[in-house]
Every structure is written in C-alpha cells, then in structure tokens.
Symmetry: C2
Subunit: 164 residues, 2 copies
Amino acid sequence: MIDDLPAGLTARHLADDDHPRVLAVLDGWWGGLKGEAGSTERALLLPRLYFQHFNTTSLLVEHDGGGGVAAFLVGFLSQTEPDTAYVHFVGVDPALHGQGVGRALYRAFFALARSHGRRHVHCITSPENTASQAFHTRLGFTASGVKPDYDGPGLDRVAFTIDL
Amino acid sequence: MIDDLPAGLTARHLADDDHPRVLAVLDGWWGGLKGEAGSTERALLLPRLYFQHFNTTSLLVEHDGGGGVAAFLVGFLSQTEPDTAYVHFVGVDPALHGQGVGRALYRAFFALARSHGRRHVHCITSPENTASQAFHTRLGFTASGVKPDYDGPGLDRVAFTIDL
C-alpha cells in the first residue's frame, strides 16, 4: 500500500495486536529519553484506543520475513472539521533514518486523507525536537512558532499545518 | 442540551479554549494523586487534540453565571468500527458526586452516539478505580475483568462495553 519504501519493507494498516509491539520499540528509538518516566509518557501518548479505533488512517511498516517493526504513523480524520486530518504520533527506526521511510508514511497518510475529502493536515511536535521540525518543514508543513503550555503546564508545542 | 442536570448547571460541547480550564481542575478533582508525575500523566491522557477534533461528541458542564467547570466528558466515534463509540475521559467535580451529573453526561453521549448510528460504547478504567467500576456497572456497562499491561507495561485496565 506504499510503493516508495526501501526494499525489504512492507506497509499495512495498524491493528489492535500491534500495540505492545510498537510500545516495545519506542524506548530504543527515543534513546531511553527521560528514563522510566519518559517510557510512561510515551505509553500515555499512545493508548491502545488509537490501535482499535483509528486503524483506517494509521500505518505500520515492517521488515519482510517477520523482521519486526520498522516505522509507524498514527493519524485520524477530524470529527469536528470535515476538511481536516491529524497526525498524532510517528516513529521511524533510527537505523532507517535518511531513507525516506518517514516521508513515504506521510505521503501515504496524505493520500488516505485526500480520499476522505480532507484538504489540511495538522500535527504538533515539541520545541526541543528540532529534527522533527526540520523534517516537517522539508515535507512542506508551515510551523506556528512555539506555543507555551499548549498541551498543558510545561508541555510547550510547535504546531504544523500543510494544505493537500 | 442535557435536560436532567441539577439546577444551576448547563452543558455545551467542548471547545478548544476549554483545554487549559479542564486541565486546571484535574489535580484538585483527583486529589493530587501521584503528585507532579500524576499531573503530567493526566495532561498526557488529555492532549488538546481532543478539544479540537472530537468536540461534536465531547461535553462540558459549567456552573451558571461563570462559576467554572463542573464536569466534562471526552468521547469520539470509532473510525474503524462504524457501529461503535468510545468514552475516553470523564471528570465530575467531587463536590457534585451523587447528584447524577456523570449519569447525565453518559446519557447525553449515548444519545449523540445513537444519532450517528452507533450501537455499542466502549471505555476503560484502571483496576484501582473501584468507584469508576461501580459507576459503569450501575449504568449498565459489562466489565471485562483486569487486562494486564493493556495500555502498556504496568498500565493494567478494565474494559467496559454497553449496547445502546
């Protein structure tokens, strides 16, 4: 379902059973950022509900032959804004960075969003994550500047928007 | 929009601007459970995206005359299962417990879900939250028993389902 992935990788929609497999790779991919508290924070941002109720716009990339999780994207169609879709959480195995996997996932999500009549995609990242900000800018997203306490006290965010 | 609330309370759909107001009451309502880490956990479970993209099935109850937040319910329609809706997070001011506010919020959500053709509602709670489990059972939900690591390592949950 994604035709511009590197050889040896295959994409499909996320399923409920993928939840523990995806959580299991996060600490390694995020370099154990913030230790056990960081691990809990990442789990709380990615509850199982996304793997149950937003599968139709969420994707998993795996290594062929049972080689494990390579990347994922969790996104949804806005219920409130009929022309908007939202990317909530994306991860790519650091060993695969620079090979276009993240770009391929976003393009596949854009195509899914367009097929549901969506014209805008939003997402956020933390101000510290400059690599993520550069990535979204390269993809064509426009950044908002830092919004203090956007997701709660101390949880500053940068908001990104792209027109499809 | 909810006609069985106690006098002096009014309901409306949640709006983006309500996010900081709702987060601000959580620590008091949860009795400061788990201190600063608990405060961050609650914020991470309730990112602003719910207040932007799921307003049509999320509700706020306020005291009349600008008296502040009394209760709220954040829920959504499943994208994956066209007959299912999901209640993600509910809070009621402890000073109002026992007055039917939570029940009124759930009934209003059930009506919204039915109006979108939904026949089942799911939600979860933590095994420690026996008051929540008793509340959902009284409402007519069926409990799953404890599911270990349901939302991640150490994040056990009890799942509830009701047929509309």
